[in-house]
């Protein structure tokens, strides 16, 4: 048996520096997780079963260690102005305690990263960035805020713990540990500070699963204690620790982009279906290029598809217009079984003329072309409460 290209690289693979550990690493090992190297971090890919962890988030509540993600603060009277220039979405309209998903673009419109901007006050903003992009992003942010005297940037990644609590019972679980804080009253994409287990944490009603839930910011030194408390307090909610495997199947069903798979420096937000986070009525890096691209129209687009035959599309598989012959017309960026939708699903870039929902395309799954039906995005949407 040999592993195909989608198998994550093994933790023990030689020739690379030892992967970094989050404050929860020992917990993952004690819980029997399988650990992989994910962008330089030793992270749990699964504890017992990706399918069970996925289900826990859709029906109960799941905990994710996302301490590896980066946090950057912008402090000073120029914080809003500085961040506005860096991101495609319009953060000027945010109120205190509000968060917004956005892209960060290069001058040519390619994507530096996707992130969430949290406005605490008019003079303090925190941006949460992808773990694998921390150094690149911070260098980019520094380069483009250099010379400002009204805003100071600081990397909070090492001192900040981040735990995602996701699932229909997430709010009830937080109430159990922090009933005074009123986190369960937060609206989507809002956050507030409150006390939990004697520590001041931030709870944000955000996530990466397509489910209701929160992300808890805490001091890194308190992350393990909070993790333990959440696990032991949520037994009757079916709380489960969840790894990167379930995080990926959950986000894919919800059609949330994964940087490095679905979006990167060669894709624009428009192509990626993220035009809704580009607001052209404010000044930001990449705006002229994106204006031009918008006016010129798209040549390709990220589409969602459901496999009709037996086969799983995986990152990098070619897409064809015909069941045989011809040249590839596109490429798969993400693919997996969608455990809740019960089908093999995927995302990929195809020419705009082939991007219509209902069309059949063919994914070359290791030499076999399997029919794939273009579907409406997302594959999964939680029902309104």
């Amino acid at each position: 048996m040999s592993h195909g290209p989608s198998e994550p690289s093994d933790h023990s693979s030689a020739g690379k520096p030892a992967p970094k550990r989050t404050p929860l690493y020992d917990r993952h090992v004690a819980l029997g997780a399988r650990i992989i190297d994910f962008g330089g971090w030793a992270m749990p890919v699964q504890y017992a079963s990706i399918l069970e962890e996925h289900k826990a988030v859709r029906t109960g509540v799941g905990l994710f260690d996302v301490c590896h993600m980066g946090e950057v603060e912008f402090v000073g009277l120029g914080a809003v102005d500085a961040v506005e220039k860096l991101v495609t979405n319009d953060v000027r309209k945010l109120v205190d305690g509000q968060a917004r998903y956005t892209a960060v673009c290069y001058e040519d419109g390619g994507i530096v990263d996707d992130c969430i901007v949290y406005r605490e006050r008019h003079d303090r903003i925190v941006i949460v960035i992808n773990a694998s992009n921390i150094e690149k992003d911070i260098a980019w942010f520094r380069k483009h805020t250099d010379g400002r005297t009204d805003c100071v940037l600081r990397d909070l990644s090492a001192e900040t713990g981040l735990i995602a609590v996701q699932g229909p019972h997430a709010a009830a679980l937080l109430d159990r540990l922090a009933h005074e804080a009123g986190f369960s009253a937060l609206k989507s994409f809002h956050f507030k500070a409150g006390e939990m287990l004697g520590v001041t944490v931030w709870a944000a009603r955000t996530g990466y699963t397509g489910e209701d839930g929160f992300e808890l910011f805490c001091p890194a030194s308190e992350a393990a204690r909070i993790w333990d408390a959440l696990l032991s307090a949520g037994g009757d909610f079916g709380v489960k620790p969840c790894g990167l495997g379930a995080r990926d199947t959950l986000r894919l069903e919800a059609c949330l982009s994964l940087y490095g798979n679905d979006i990167d420096q060669t894709t624009t937000p428009y192509e990626a279906g993220l035009g809704w986070v580009v607001k052209l009525d404010h000044d930001f890096i990449g705006r002229p290029a994106l204006e031009q691209k918008k006016a010129a129209g798209l040549s390709r687009k990220l589409v969602a598809f459901v496999m009709e035959g037996r086969g799983t599309a995986r990152h990098g598989y070619p897409i064809f217009a015909e069941p045989e012959g011809g040249a590839p017309i596109g490429i798969v960026t993400s693919g997996s079984l969608g455990p809740t939708v019960g089908k093999n699903i995927g995302l990929g870039y195809v020419p705009i003329a082939r991007a219509e929902v209902g069309q059949t395309l063919y994914v070359d799954c290791r030499g076999k072309r399997i029919a794939a039906l273009l579907a409406k995005s997302p594959f999964y949407r939680r029902s309104a409460v």
Binding site: M1, G4, S6, E7, P8, Q46, S49, G245, T249, L337
Partner: protein, 131 residues
């Protein structure tokens, strides 16, 4: 998951196991392989009568996270495939040595069995590779 490697089986570097009964070699994948794959969601089986040289791709197994080839541990032709496993590949996660066998090969060169590892050799191989 238990990491048992039954004594009556022979093993390959690629994490297949083989149970020998006369000229018939029953083939499956080891507990180690199953653990590496995680939840198995799909298995592509060969057809009865198909012939495979030792080391040729015999079947494909997919899990939520990975796709892997299963190679013929010995040369031979397929006399039986485990149809229930094709329909319910998660059986491999539950029992990869008995209910979860994959194919039976009629060996064309039974002396190839001598090149397969014993359970002790296979376990040593696994622990050597872990460090």
């Amino acid at each position: 998951m238990s990491k048992d490697y039954p004594n009556d089986l022979r093993y390959t570097n690629d994490h297949e196991w083989v149970r020998i009964n006369g000229k018939i070699a029953t083939v499956g994948i080891t507990a180690y392989a199953v653990e590496q794959l995680g939840d198995i969601t799909l298995i592509d089986l060969p057809k009865e009568g198909e012939k495979f040289a030792r080391g040729a791709q015999l079947a494909t197994v997919e899990s939520v996270k990975a796709v892997s080839d299963i190679y013929a541990p010995v040369s031979g032709s397929v006399v039986k495939v485990n149809v229930p496993v094709g329909d319910s590949p998660e059986m491999l996660n539950e029992d990869c040595y008995d209910e979860g066998w994959i194919v039976e090969l009629e060996m064309s060169n039974p002396s190839e069995v001598d090149q397969l590892m014993t359970s002790a050799q296979y376990e040593k191989e696994l622990s050597d590779n872990a460090h």
